[in-house]
Amino acid sequence: MSSEILIPILSIGGLGLIFGVGLALAAKRFAVKVDPRVEKVLEVLPGANCGACGYPGCLGFAEAVVAEKAPVDGCVAGGAGVAQKIGEIMGREVGEGIKRIAFVQCQGGRDQARGKYIYQGLESCGAATLISGGPKACRYGCLGFGDCVRACPFEAIRMGEGGIPVVDDARCTGCGFCVQACPRGIITLLPVSQQVFVGCMSKDRAAVVKKACSVGCIGCGLCAKKCPQEAITIKDNYPWFDYDKCTNCGICVWVCPTKAIVDKVKARPKASIGTGCTGCEICKEVCPTKAISGEKDQRHQVDMEKCIGCGLCFERCPVKAIDMVGALGWVEKKRGAA
């Protein structure tokens, strides 16, 4: 009777034991010496195997880092946090890298941009662009078939209402796969802190742009003229931003006649002049929208309707009588940057 229980237990247990010992021996016999740091680095990596670092998967990158072939901050998707942890494992200091995310430089959705012909083919920007430069009148415009959406390994891009992709800033890791996927080259990686950018890529002449799209850049150069930091230069009918100089003041957004410059700040603060004002008129002169009025030597007023919250007066006021109100954290950010 007992043998009916014992024998099965012994045979399965015996099999398990034999396999266990066999595997243990094999593990010794076939042990591959792996640097323990590789495993540690692999643990802190995001594990998406996105390949943005240029190595085949996270394991490839981990091995390259340990072999000191790849930089410690080479993981684009992980950002500064992961770079810090890898730095600790490798015993090296890591400089703060600037995180970059994807910006879509086209606003010409179905309502804004004119079509050229009716396209009926593969639902892919890459395919559509091969047929006479795509179904849009603008040869720089977004085709809206979502090659970038499909390319994104982090589901950070979705197709917006008008057929223009929208980037989820929080999810975007700046891996740059969408940049490669876009046949038009209208997705750019810019610093995550950048709030103002040109929402157009057209280098065509004004007449051509105006025919094709209502929100296209016509290269008028008003933004370059008005920019207090001289961060914009016009070349090839296009305003080139120097993002190192740009302070995101938003004057270019306000001045642009076609609304081709995009402002990501949802609510900008308004200037408010306090009792410390000596009436020096510096703010009045500096204000690009002429929102400040007042007599000399008297406290000035701000016209809230006209104020665009650029903060020029705030920066220039000699007695620090101007405050920016209405947007939390804006002043702190400005002061921190200065």
Binding site: S3, I7, S11, I12, L15, G16, L23, F30, V32, R150
Partner: protein, 201 residues
């Protein structure tokens, strides 16, 4: 045991009783790994390898340990078939992984992700159990194991080829991705029904 008999086993398990499309085994990797042709081929090769090895080793375990127990110890051990086969397959896959990592690192890299996935794949267990159920001999078991893997690879590669094309097709939104893959799988399964009757077992 002649070549013709083995050939019939091969045709039967590749086409007529295809493990995925007729027996509905191993559907998880069939849907999961069939998005790209490259990875489908990688997975298919790993399955062929493991199925052959598993058929070989489980047949030995069954014929020389579980089956003779009745006559030697007067205890029927055949009900331990499933659990001991799982044990054998898991240990085998582990061993194969180690050996490959040491001796053929390139093959380990290309199969690497798929090998552990196969450990508890029902298609692998299925082929070993079927070997016993059909009272196959050693060579027959190995042939069935190998060709079942080939059949699995065939289904997987066909599916991957179709899905790569489907990616570019204009598919209604609710059907995009997995749903259309299931529909395709169903149609492929019906198509493979056309082979039934080719071989009578």
């Amino acid at each position: 045991m002649d070549i013709g008999h083995l050939l019939i086993i091969a045709v039967a398990s590749i086409l007529v009783n295809n493990f995925v499309l007729s027996r509905f085994l191993g559907l998880c990797p069939y849907i999961g790994v069939s998005k790209q042709l490259d990875s489908a081929i990688g997975m298919g090769m790993a399955v062929i390898f493991v199925m052959t090895m598993a058929s070989l080793s489980t047949w030995i375990i069954y014929t020389y340990l579980l089956a003779p127990a009745t006559s030697i110890w007067k205890v029927d051990l055949t009900y331990l078939r499933t659990i001991s086969f799982i044990l054998v397959i898991a240990a085998l896959v582990q061993l194969v992984e180690m050996v490959l990592q040491k001796l053929v690192p390139t093959l380990y890299r290309s199969l690497g992700i798929y090998l552990p996935l196969i450990t508890t794949n029902c298609a692998v267990l299925g082929v070993t159990v079927l070997n016993i159920d059909k009272r196959f001999g050693f060579v027959e078991s190995v042939v069935q194991g190998f060709t079942a893997g080939v059949g699995f690879t065939l289904a997987l590669v066909l599916m991957a080829g179709i899905r790569e094309k489907l990616d570019l097709a204009d598919i209604p939104k609710p059907l995009q991705g997995i749903p259309i893959a299931f529909i395709v799988a169903g149609i492929m399964s019906i198509a493979f029904l056309g082979f039934s009757g080719l071989v009578t077992e």
